[in-house]
Symmetry: D2
Subunit: 180 residues, 4 copies
């Protein structure tokens, strides 16, 4: 467990990239609606971000959920895929580009299929190799750093637009509080 913590702390040192952060926020700000997508645990990270985008006041959706409309011109797809090769996510990105909407990829591979399709790619590159697979199996490190990076984007948007925690809390679903 402590090895995992050390690897995460070490990874956080390189996570900030001012230019990419600004471009990412510009993409969000410049879009009509924002669609988040990912498969497996990357999908959970995409959802965690979508929820905060909603709290921040954006019109955000998760592909695969019930009321998600069709992506249109002017919309943005945020595609989360560690390998950058998850076939369903690559297909969503291609379709999004066909429609004429934009794609931001969040991936650990700068030369992946998703990175080639995306208008902007956030590369959360691991400086660690196969040796961490014993305590951070499969996409673990990517998923954790992606969640943290995306929460960092939330922090940047809060600061930039001067949005308080209270304002976010006001959009919290009643599921959190029903006086059962």
């Amino acid at each position: 467990m402590q090895k995992l913590f050390a690897v995460i702390s070490e990874s956080l040192k390189d996570l900030y990239d001012q230019k990419k952060v600004e471009k990412f926020i510009d993409a969000i700000e410049g879009s009509k609606r924002i669609f988040c997508s990912g498969i497996g645990r990357s999908g959970l990270v995409a959802r965690a971000f979508a929820m905060r985008l909603m709290h921040l006041g954006y019109e955000a959706y998760v592909i695969g959920e019930t009321i998600t409309p069709r992506i249109e011109l002017g919309d943005l797809l945020i595609a989360v895929s560690g390998s950058g090769e998850t076939p369903i996510i690559v297909a969503f990105a291609k379709k999004t580009k066909e429609i004429g909407a934009k794609v931001v990829a969040v991936t650990s591979k700068a030369d992946s299929s998703i990175a080639k399709i995306a208008d902007l790619t956030i590369v959360l590159k691991s400086k660690f190799g196969k040796e961490i697979s014993k305590f951070a199996p499969l996409g673990t490190l990517f998923e954790i750093t992606a969640l943290i990076f995306l929460d960092g984007i939330v922090a940047e948007i809060m600061e930039k637009k001067n949005i308080s925690e209270d304002k976010l809390a006001r959009r919290h679903s009643i599921e959190n509080e029903v006086g059962l």
Copy 2:
């Protein structure tokens, strides 16, 4: 299986209630946003309806999904519960009333807790007793008739507002068609 079919066909004969249908559509039309909720298979029925509401152009949500905002004054909760006593759904309905928003209950029990809270109750009453539990166990008949009734509401709205199938299709999620 054929007994189930017979029971459903028989149930469809009583499903239409013009006044209730009109009031239900008025509630939908008169609301800013529509929140659908249900637990278990009733929740799946609620989602099926929420998806069509989105296709029809309404701002619809499913409680429990990622980007569902807080219910506010002017919104509508559609609560689907066969027994009318599902505790989480009753709690959602109470909270919705506290907030000052409206509740439509879809239930099989006219005197249930949810019916008492709701502004409008759609009672999908079964004329069958315990004898159908051998081939329509638990809430099966309620769930099927609720889905059909709610799809009937979709049909009524399409006619009333002259909305074509094509217009619905245009909002279909890319998940249905990605050219994989």
Copy 3:
């Protein structure tokens, strides 16, 4: 709304096909685990069936949910797709066949891609044409008849294996009843 009801009642007359029902139940009984899948409202129908399979005592999963394991030899995929061409579902079916597991397709098109891949195809053919699209848009009729047919399968299994409603109720999630 009443036109929709008439169309459903009419459709129920042709829904029963004893041979197909027996083969379908054999496929379920002969499998180690059962994976249900569908996109959009067909996915909701697939889930409604998966829940009842669990209630009946089978090891059932829904593709796309959190704890769904990999399909293996000996497993069964139930693929619900009205058009029989939903790309993600066709891809799941192909992958399932590659792995050596079985596929049952539930579709309205006997000559669709999914029907060609499947070991067994349940065709819920509509005797109605484009004229019903004004009150039963998109896959509405397929989705309703698929739900009813699959609930009919549940009825048949209950009878065949002498499973009572009480036994199903014992597996109901605590979500339905938490004493809030």
Copy 4:
């Protein structure tokens, strides 16, 4: 963003508690089935953990998903709630105790309702106050540290039971790889 990273790195220093880790793993190992639950982003963290439990070979479920059976004697509920007061989660925990099954709470409040009910409470206490709400709003820090802590539990189980990444990968859903 960098303030968030600093706060996370700082939090990781206190996250490891050998005794609690051992007790938590004992609870998992000693249970027949493991049910994960949480509302909102805590629910996404619960799901991320449930998926890895499945990859590790445990019978894991997420409350609210389709095929989740009833909790029974011998089972374990893992309840994730930052405040420890989320009413639905508290209700699940109470119900679980009534049934006679065990509860592990993952929370930031040692004296919360959920902590009082739980057999074992993992307290992920924040050493930061209200001042972090500007860049880590609502439960952000709890959710991130909960995900990391639970992934740390996965790492510990892998080491203890000598489970390789390959073994986990073999249970990966076909959703990740369908050759679309």
